[in-house]
Point group: C2
Chain length 450, copies 2
């Protein structure tokens, strides 16, 4: 007499036509994401693996899988490309990881908007709308080559382009989503506008998103530059001027202190020692104005590539910005980690300078200029931290908080403890109840739903 089938085996027997990943090493790899940036999460999430991984290719496959998982009460963890940093793709209680990367069809682009399935890679989407419609993404992470649309929506902030359009959560950037309820008879539901944002950045814990509709920006060519400065303050003032000047068309304004630039070894020839640097993506038409401002603030342009060459060679400075700065730094030093912090618009320059003075030897400044959700220029930072102990890491974050800087703690795996910053508003819980009444979406990630 055979042993009874496990629930996972029942799933696999009942849905044999789905693309199941069965090799343990691949299952383990697909149970991880970039949460190893945090030594805390690396320790806490070690050994958290799915029992199985499945790669649905159609809405019907998703629906059949979800229905059966609901019936069998199997936890489901949604995964895009695994480029997130909060363990959002790490299943805390086993079950099935739903690898959405094969659910990746482009649907349409018209009227300044585009819609695609959640597993579409951002770069594929950008290429599609650029070539087909002369549009581009309003914002995207530095991981755009591999990251998926659904992953950005589920756990992303914004990034390149947020200097114009703010974070993804700014009203008007997300037009709608299609989501499916985790029930024995799954319902497919469209949420429009602000309502769609109730599933944003909850790390896939209150809904399974199938399709996302985004507002786009008219495409522009972007030249790339490195501009270096002797003075920390002069550099910041330059960046703030670039960020604030509406007449200068830009897509990226990223600041790297002289303590960070040595980590960017592939760019070493353009980053002289002891100089602070800006990585810029600027429209050709605004090059003169940028150069004028560099002159005003004592900057020196050490690197300049035109959009055409960047497109041809695929060598872009954008892959040294945002969390790619951290990733590149890890290549030469494993004993680092990072912070995520949001400065107060209007006080942001003073705050960055103050934190540099207080912690500059240990917390190496990497700040990205953006417009915040109120449309004001500010900085968000992804500082590189010379890691010693978890206790010291907590102390550092407390110093930031004590100086009025918001920490979006990237060293936690519970939704409420991260960017959400505390208890979730009722509207999010209502969505959870509607879309995941059985609490199968990565249980344990959200305190409210234990």
């Amino acid at each position: 007499m055979n042993a009874p089938l496990s629930t996972i085996e029942q799933l696999q027997v009942a849905l044999p036509d789905l693309d199941w990943v069965k090799e343990t090493p691949r299952i383990q790899r697909l149970s991880q994401d970039f949460s190893w940036f945090s030594p805390v999460l690396k320790r806490q999430l070690a050994g958290k693996f799915a029992d199985a991984v499945v790669r649905p290719r159609t809405e019907d496959e998703v629906k059949r899988l979800v229905a059966l998982c609901a019936k069998l009460r199997v936890p489901l963890t949604i995964r895009g490309a695994g480029t997130g940093n909060y363990g959002q793709s790490v299943p805390l209680q086993g079950g099935v990881v739903l690898d959405m990367s094969a659910f990746n069809q482009f649907l349409w682009c018209k009227g300044g908007a585009a819609r695609a399935q959640a597993g579409m890679r951002l770069w594929d989407l950008e290429k599609q709308v650029r070539a087909g419609n002369g549009m581009e993404l309003r914002c995207m992470p530095s991981t755009y080559r591999s990251a998926t649309l659904g992953g950005l929506f589920g756990g992303g902030f914004g990034g390149i382009g947020s200097i114009n359009y703010g974070p993804l959560a700014s009203r008007g950037n997300i037009l709608g989503i299609k989501a499916i309820t985790i029930e024995e008879e799954p319902q497919v539901v469209e949420l429009r506008g602000a309502e769609a944002l109730l599933m944003h950045h909850l790390w896939g814990t209150n809904g399974l998103v199938l399709e996302i509709e985004l507002a786009l920006a008219p495409a522009q060519d972007w030249n790339e530059y490195l501009v270096v400065f002797n003075g920390f303050d002069a550099a910041l003032e330059f960046g703030n001027a670039i960020a604030s000047t509406t007449g200068i068309a830009k897509r990226e304004v990223g600041f790297l202190s002289s303590a960070v630039t040595p980590y960017l070894k592939p760019l070493a020839e353009y980053l002289p020692a002891n100089r602070h640097a800006f990585i810029l993506a600027i429209a050709p038409v605004s090059e003169l104005a940028m150069m004028e401002l560099a002159g005003v603030h004592g900057g020196q342009v050490t690197y300049r590539k035109e959009a055409e060459e960047i497109a041809r060679t695929h060598r872009t400075l954008l892959e040294y910005t945002w969390n790619h700065t951290t990733l590149v730094a890890f290549k030469s030093d494993r004993n680092i980690t990072y912070l995520q912090s949001a400065f107060v618009a209007g006080e942001h320059l003073e705050q960055v300078k103050r934190m540099e003075k207080l912690l500059g030897d240990e917390v190496l400044m990497h700040a990205e200029f953006i417009r915040n959700i109120e449309g004001k220029v500010t900085c968000t930072a992804l500082q590189i931290v010379k890691f010693t102990t978890e206790e010291r890491l907590q102390e550092i974050m407390q110093v930031y908080r004590d100086n009025g800087v918001r920490i979006n703690d990237p060293h936690v795996f519970i939704v409420e403890d991260g960017k959400a910053g505390g208890d979730l508003p009722q509207a999010y819980t209502d969505v959870k109840r509607r879309f995941d009444p059985l609490n199968l979406l990565n249980p344990g990630k959200t305190r409210a739903w234990q």
Copy 2:
């Protein structure tokens, strides 16, 4: 024996191939602009006419004319379409009005920039770059149908589009100009970037501009809306949210208090009594987000036209914004005039509310949301004033100043007394010395150069 020829006659005899306007009524008409918006200027500038008007068609014609005027010491006043409001096209000491409207060739558009001769109409330029290159003007006055590029540069501020790109003077909007010196041997000189702005908004008093090169914006479709509100404060909050929200693509955010809307008779059916209104130009992709904000603030959309219909019918709300509001109001009431004021970014809503409380019965609020030269959202206003006396008008402006609001006095005809706000910096004077060493450009308009 014949009487000796006047200098004007000498010019006309020496340059018979130029297009001279000789009929007195036309000369008088072409010696005026929209300074009649101000009862003060109307009185002060009455009877100020050119001795002759000439319409050059080529750079060679300009050059020969300028050379001879320099030799004969004939004053020159530059005119675009005469839609300015400061008497900038009104010759104070006679001489020749240089009507630039036939010097109107489009030169090129590429790489996000366009260049044209100064007399090109803004609407012709917009149509050209939109059809040919998928671009549009970053900002333009409501008089865009008739106003010229050179007139905008010489005496304009910005306008429609300034909610994104700030005023024309924001670094990066003007890329370069070609100007000609007023000398017996005129020199043609290119000024690039910030240097070009040294001739901006000096009403043609320190240089004769031949060509202007502008940075453009990627063209978008713009739907138009009227949204009405019961509450003054609620309306303002709505407008500020539209203006500030980076995710909402817009070109125009104009506020009309319920005291102003009755003047807009052609729109009467969409403007209920006692409601405050916003005129909006919004990209179709942002319609949902705009509607959501209208809902949040208790607004009601009474008018909605899609871009396609606007293009087909040539009926646009844009011609009820900026100084067109004033122009339309004049059609039903000649006893009005207007103000121009700039509110302090961040305090702008409170200032608008305070001024409404202090003077609302006499100064009817019409405010335009823009991003200022620092990239911050604020209001600039073109209030309609129920005119009584010049003394009262001065008192009203003083009340504004006493409340911390900047008045760009549109009731003066001297450069320093208007938006320039006092003595001109040395750099402007240096340009004057270089480009008009004989002080022939409308002498009397600038105090520094008497």
